[in-house]
Every structure is written in structure tokens, then in C-alpha cells.
């Protein structure tokens, strides 16, 4: 393992080499101009995949140095993978972008604020957990979360837009609500499943964690929630911290392997993609790693493949529902039909496909914190498609999509709500009361 920790110099060279492997394939055809959501907002070639490939080429050849404008350009990327999914030459421009961000960190170091969050707070974890609990308490006792929330005026101090709507944080984290081992409720144990909650499932959307545990244990699975799990590293790597992300990924890999699991389930699109795929960029390849990544399932995928949900298990939900494809599910993991299949099984639900269901909603994890205005402009297209679909609920499988879509729906005074597919399934099972009581 120690051989995998490299010097800054080695890392810098590796990042440039790996970027070059991608951009060298670019034919400069321009097709990415027709799909890149960021480019559509800026209308400047610098921000499209083709332009970013060219910038990377210039950096590698030494013809361009790291400049503010270069950094700004490569930070304008959602890692939505729309370009790579449509590229005729098989280029992954988002990886060129990530490699460049990591390269810049090897040259300039990590900003102290990012270092504090990624290498101290996220790594130690308890400050985040306690911090969230304090905010959660304050949200309930002092200021609420609605539009009249007076704390709004302080948002800009923390780099957040004032008009932004935050979700209610959880008072108790999911990981503290449940024991490490949650036994099957049917008597038999079909599989022992590790549950990677993700930060959002742990600290914000604990109802998702509850849905996952209830459904899996209700259908005869044992659910293990390792207490020492940490962030999967996605926001860390997206913000240029290769080393911080590597440490987190290695940690989770080593941790989950100790539990003798048959499968690992996640209910977050980015956690899923990172544990299945991105981890291979950070953790040295080995049969153990292959085995680990092969065991990871998105919860929608797991249920659709493994659980036979009988019509008599489900109670009716009176909603018109559409589905938004998170980038890291549809393009990141090829999961498209499974969540739709689940929604269509629920009695009473009228499923309506919306237009452009698989275009990025603009949230892109931390992008909607650092680039709020652009991310909302991108989201405005999504809101229009949701409104045109004429639904009550937009279901999806990613916490940052839920957060961002809900925020902007509220800003549009629109009545639709964003929810997780898994929550709707759990609600339907509860409505009947045989599998989940």
C-alpha cells in the first residue's frame, strides 16, 4: 500500500500523462458543443469539452502556464459526462478536467480552507456530524428553513447564495440511529449487505437510510452499517484534492472488506459511481479491489435485480410521478430502467416520462455551492421540463439532485416535490403494512 503513495512530482507527471491519454483522442469535431450544459450557458468555446481538451494540451506541452482564467475554465465542469457519453472518439473530457485540477494542486498546493474541510473535518468526521446536529437544532428551534429564515442574510459569509433554500438537516445521524448490524426481519438471511450511507443519507436525508434498512431487512437481508465509514471522496476529488480523496477511498475499501459482505449497497448516485469505478483511479488494482467494486450496487439496481416485490406487498400512492436521471447513475453507472421499473410497480402512481430526463440538473455536488448562479440557470431548464410533465413528484436517486431541484422549485413557487425512488417504494410498502410495518 505504501508504494501507492507517490511524491508530488510523480503525481504531477501522472496526472498530465493520464490527461494526455484522453485529449489525444479528441478529433476536435465539436459535437460536445451540442450537449455540454455549461457551454450552453456560457456560449464560449473555452468552456466546452473540446476547449478544455485544448487547454490541457497546452499545459502539457508547456505552451500555457497555470493562470487564474485557466483554473476558472476547468472549474466550470459538472462532471456530468454528457460529453463523453456522446463523443464519437471515446474521449472522457471530464477526466481531463479532473486530472488538470489535481495537477494544479500538485503545483500550487491545496487552498487552506479546502485542506481544512477535506483533510481534517471530513477525515475526522465527528466535527461534521456534530456541526450538522447543531445546525439541525438551530433550524428547528431558532430560524426554520423557509423563505423568511433570517439566517439567510448570513449565507454569503459562508459562500452560499442568499436566496438559496437548504434542506432540513437531521437531528440524529442515520449511523447513530441504527446499530451496526440490522438483522433480517423474515427469519431467513438471504445475504449480508453492507450499506454505504453517504454523507447526505447519514446527515440530511435520513428517511432514505430508513427506507433502505426497512426494505432490505423486510425482504430477508441483513444490513450492516459500518460505523467508521467516511465520505466516499467525490467532493474531495472534484475540488482538486487527489491525495485527500485517495485516503478516504482507501479507508472505505479497507473498512468494508473487514465485514465479510455479500454485497454493498448505496442510495446515492455519486457514491455508487465512486465505489464502483472512480476508486480504481485511486486504489491500487488487485483481485481484492475487483471483488470489492464488483459487489457494489445502487439500491434501485439491487432491488430491481434481486427482490421480487409482489403486487400484494404494495399499498397505493396517489401521485403523478416523473423521474430525473442523475448523471452519475445514467451515464456513470448505466442505470436507467431500474428506478423507472420500481416506480411503475407502485399502485396508484401514474408515471409520466418528462422531456430531457437525463440532462444534468446543474447541481453537480459542490458545483452548486461554488457556482450557484450558473447551476441555477442550468436547473431552470429542468424545472421547465418538470412543470411541463404535469406531475406531483419528481423522483430521482441522488441527494444533490434532490436538494438542488427542491431549492429551485421553491424559488419558482412550484408545487412539485423532489423525492427518492426508494422513499416512494418504502411509503408504498408501509401503506400496505405487510413487509414494512
Amino acid at each position: 500500500m505504501s508504494t501507492y503513495i507517490k511524491t508530488q512530482q510523480q503525481l504531477a507527471e501522472e496526472h498530465l500523462l493520464e490527461a494526455a491519454k484522453e485529449f489525444e483522442k479528441c478529433m476536435k469535431c465539436g459535437k460536445c458543443r451540442s450537449v455540454c450544459p455549461v457551454f450552453k450557458e456560457f456560449g464560449n468555446e473555452l468552456y466546452v469539452a473540446r476547449g478544455k481538451n485544448k487547454l490541457a494540451e497546452k499545459i502539457v506541452s508547456g505552451d500555457l502556464q497555470i493562470t487564474d482564467k485557466l483554473e476558472q475554465a476547468i472549474n466550470e465542469c459538472l462532471n456530468c459526462k454528457t460529453c463523453s457519453a456522446n463523443c464519437p472518439a471515446g474521449v472522457s473530457p471530464e477526466h481531463v478536467v479532473l486530472r488538470l485540477r489535481w495537477y494544479i494542486t500538485t503545483q500550487k498546493g491545496l487552498h487552506y480552507f479546502k485542506a481544512l474541510i477535506f483533510r481534517q473535518l471530513l477525515w475526522r468526521k465527528w466535527p461534521i456530524t456534530i456541526g450538522c446536529a447543531v445546525v439541525a437544532l438551530a433550524q428547528r428551534l431558532l430560524f426554520g428553513i423557509g423563505p423568511k429564515n433570517p439566517v439567510r442574510h448570513l449565507f454569503p459569509l459562508f459562500g452560499f447564495a442568499k436566496r438559496r433554500n437548504f434542506p432540513q438537516l437531521a437531528l440524529r445521524s442515520a449511523q447513530s440511529m441504527y446499530p451496526e448490524v440490522n438483522r433480517s426481519k423474515t427469519g431467513e438471511t438471504k445475504m449480508r449487505i453492507g450499506y454505504f450511507t453517504g454523507c447526505a443519507g447519514n446527515l440530511i436525508y435520513t428517511n432514505v437510510a430508513k427506507s433502505v434498512v426497512d426494505i432490505l431487512t423486510g425482504y430477508g437481508y441483513e444490513v450492516v452499517i459500518p460505523k467508521k465509514q467516511k465520505c466516499n471522496g467525490t467532493p474531495v476529488m472534484a475540488n482538486g484534492d487527489y491525495e485527500g480523496a485517495r485516503r478516504l477511498m482507501q479507508h472505505n475499501f479497507d473498512l468494508f472488506r473487514k465485514y465479510d459482505l455479500d454485497a454493498i449497497v448505496v442510495a446515492c448516485s455519486s457514491c455508487g459511481m465512486s465505489l464502483k469505478k472512480e476508486i480504481k483511479v485511486f486504489v491500487e488494482d488487485s483481485p481484492e479491489l475487483q471483488e470489492f467494486t464488483g459487489k457494489v450496487w445502487d439500491i434501485n439496481e439491487f432491488i430491481d435485480k434481486n427482490i421480487e416485490i409482489k403486487p400484494e406487498d404494495l399499498g397505493p400512492l396517489p401521485y403523478k410521478v416523473t423521474y430525473h436521471d442523475p448523471c452519475h447513475m445514467v451515464r456513470g453507472q448505466g442505470i436507467k430502467e431500474q428506478p423507472r421499473n420500481i416506480l411503475k410497480q407502485i399502485p396508484g402512481v401514474e408515471f409520466k416520462e418528462m422531456k430531457n430526463a437525463d440532462t444534468c440538473c446543474g447541481s453537480a455536488g459542490s458545483y452548486c455551492i461554488t457556482h450557484y448562479e450558473t447551476s441555477i440557470k442550468i436547473n431552470d431548464h429542468k424545472i421547465k421540463d418538470i412543470q411541463d410533465a404535469g406531475v406531483d413528484i419528481v423522483a430521482t436517486g441522488c441527494p444533490t439532485c434532490v436538494m438542488h431541484i427542491d431549492d429551485n422549485l421553491a424559488q419558482h413557487h412550484s408545487n412539485e416535490k423532489a423525492k427518492f425512488v426508494i422513499e416512494l417504494l418504502a411509503d408504498s410498502l408501509r401503506a400496505k403494512g405487510t413487509v414494512i410495518r
Binding site: E24, K25, M27, K28, C29, G30, K31, C32, R33, S34, G43, N44, E45, L46, G51, K54, L55, K58, L64, T67, K69, L70, A73, P88, A89, G90
Partner: protein, 463 residues
Amino acid sequence: MEKAVIDELVTIFGQSNVLTDREDMIAYSYDAAPVEVEPEAVVFPTTTEQVSRLMKLAYRVEVPVTPRGQGSGLSGGSIPLKKGIVLCMDRMTKVIEFDPANRLISVEAGLTTSDIDPIAAEAGLFYPPDPGSVAFSTIGGNVAENAGGLRGLKYGVTKDYVKMLTVVLPQGDIVKLGSKCVKHVAGFNTELMFVGSEGLLGIITEVTLALLPIPKHRESALAIFNTLDDAAQTVSDIIAAGVTPSTMEFMDNATLNAIQNFKDCGLPRDAEAVLLIETDGEEHSAKAEMVIVQSQVEKNNSRDFKIAQSTEERDKLFAGRRVALNALASVRPNLILEDATVKRSVLPEMVRGIIAIAQKYNIQVGIFGHAGDGNLHPTFLIDQKDKEEMARCHKAVDELFQLAIDLDGTISGEHGIGLEKKPYLENQIGAAGIKILQDFKRMFDPKNLLNPGKMFDMPGESA
């Protein structure tokens, strides 16, 4: 570039429509051809008036200007060879007027071509020219390159649909050319001067295009052949039998194998050629035409012939063709896509000639293209980092062009001359042909400031 000039640009276009940073110059230094030159400024007009003011300024201070659409051009036409200003048209995207009664649409030149069809479809109309780049090229770029597409045989190319143009001439005059009437003979056909002019004679800012009714029905089929001659003979025979298919796409053995390696599309690896054929129109006539197609295909010893019975089956038949370029791109690190075109009667000679050239220079090649109009896309698969291979490839390209000329064809069917084919143009059109181009250019642009150095050199100048 002098600060005073940049200040004037800002006055004309506004701060947010003028770029001068190095990073931006890098982003506007290339198109889809393998050349790059960084400009000194990039401007984005939103009105014809602004373009006119720019050209007056350019003429006054003698700065070169290179028009650009979306930069999907394959011949280097939008590269600012002499630096200066890139005039990027892609923010002029308004639909000026949709006139279904006269089957016309007037749009600004920066509109993406594929944005026309959803509007036209509301009145049951469509815009036929469909280059592979419809979703990422501008209508102005299409006009400037006289772009073609898959449907060229039956529906023609861009020039067949251009009714009127608004053009800013190099010295800043604004002219409206052509007419909305079906027939008009008032003066020369000046609008067609600008179709295929590659941004050398003027800047197109508005275009009025003719539209056609969407065909009611389509029949699609795939024919597989053991020999090239059988496939080529079939193409000739179908047309001789009085049928004009809307699509007649050809793929050779190397392309078929590349596709099958890339993704199983159910194509036979040992076939020498396949044709994808579509007829369209009223249902009964499209079907009747397909019956004739079938008889011609069978007469020429086809190995297999399938007519799609549903949309899904149609999609399946076309799956291979759709990924052909992707598949070829995955064989080697880079590719060079050509568009030499010949009469369809000499298609087999052309294909055999290309394969022989590729073998001679030991370069991998895949050939696909629009068989009905003889517009082939021989695609050389190479590694640009391998200098020695690149040198061989250049020789192969030289011979390919000569082959097209010898067969009474053309070095470019749709991608244009630009920088990439400039050295070969005289071989095709001769010294007298070059001279008349130079004369036209001098008449419109005496100071040679609009897209200089493209297509041909002016006397006394060389690249």
C-alpha cells in the same frame, strides 16, 4: 493588436462580446481540421449592422477577419491563418420569419442547423440537407461550405435550398441577394456566389431557406454483397430503373469489421460491401420503389436483403452506420476523414483505387459514404505522433486526390478546400480556374482581409 482597435471593438460589440485573453484565443485557434493559429481577438456580433461596422474598421486599420460558425469545419476554413479577428457568428441565432404558406424560413446565420426542423415540423415541413454535423454546425457555415448530407442524391445539397441571403461585403456594405419567389431572373444569381465561398467573399448574416413537406412514409433496407462490383452495379441499376432513393449509404469490409469490433450490430465480417437504402414519399410509392430496389439488388447477386418492418428494425439496420465513424476512430489514435467524390458509375474503381493506395503506403483505411452521389469518406486510421506514418499518410492522401481527379471527380464533395486541400485545388481546376477565383476575390476584397490565405493564394503570396 493595438489597444485602440480593441477599444473600438468593445464600442461596437460590447465588453461581453469581445475576447482577447490568451486562454480564449487558444479556444478559437482550431476547428475540426488538424491546424491551429491563435487570433488576436474574437468578437460575437448579434446584428448585421455590427458586422458591417467591424468590416469598415478592419478595412480602415487593415486587420484580417476570419468568419466562424461552430468550428466543425473539416478543411480549416475558420482558422485565423493571418491572425487578426475571429468573427464568431454563433450568437446570431434568431428565427426571423417562418412562412409555411410559401414553405420558407428566414433565420440568422448563427442558428444551429438542427434547430430548424422542430419549427418546420409544426407545419409538416423539413429542411432536407442533413450533414453529419447538423447539431453542431451553423446554417451560415453550411451555406459557406455548401454542406451536403445523407440525403443528397434525392434532395440535393445546401445550395438547392438557399433562396435569399443578407451579406456584409468585405468593405462593410450590406446587401440582400436573391428572392423569395420560386422563379426570379432579376439580375445574376448572386446569392449562389456566396454558397460555398468559405467566408472569402462576404459574411452571411441572414439566410432564407426553402423547406419541403415531410415525406409521409419511409422504407428502409440493408443489402449485403460479396463483391464491390456487385454493390456498385446495384447502385447504378437502381437509378437506371427510375428510382431515386433518399439514402444510399455504402460501407466497405474494413468499416464493417471496425463496427463489429466496436459494437455488435449484426453485420457480416466477410462481406465486401453493404448498402443501406431508403425510399420515401407516399406509402404506396415508397413501397413500390423498394420493390424495384429489391429486384435490382437480387439481380446483382446480393447475399442478403432485409427490409425493416418497424421503426425498431429500421434503427437496428442503421445502428452500424450510425457508429461507423466512432468505430473507425477507436481503431487507431487518430483519423483523417476525406470526402473525394466521383460519379457513381466509377465507384468500384474509386474504392479499389483507394484500397490499393492504402496498401502501397501501408496505412489502414475504412471507406464509407454516400454511394448514390459518389461522395465517399475514405478514412485513414493513423497515429499522429508517428511522424513516419504521417508522412506515408500524406503521400496516400496526395494520390487519393489525384485518383479522384483522374476519374473525372472532385477532391472535395462537401468539406471544402480551406487550408487542407488548398495545395491540390490547382490540379483539379487548373491555372485558369485559380485565376478566376483570384479575380473574384480581388473584386470583393481588394485588400485581401477577409479570411485571407484560404482555398488559394493571391498572386505574389504563398502559404
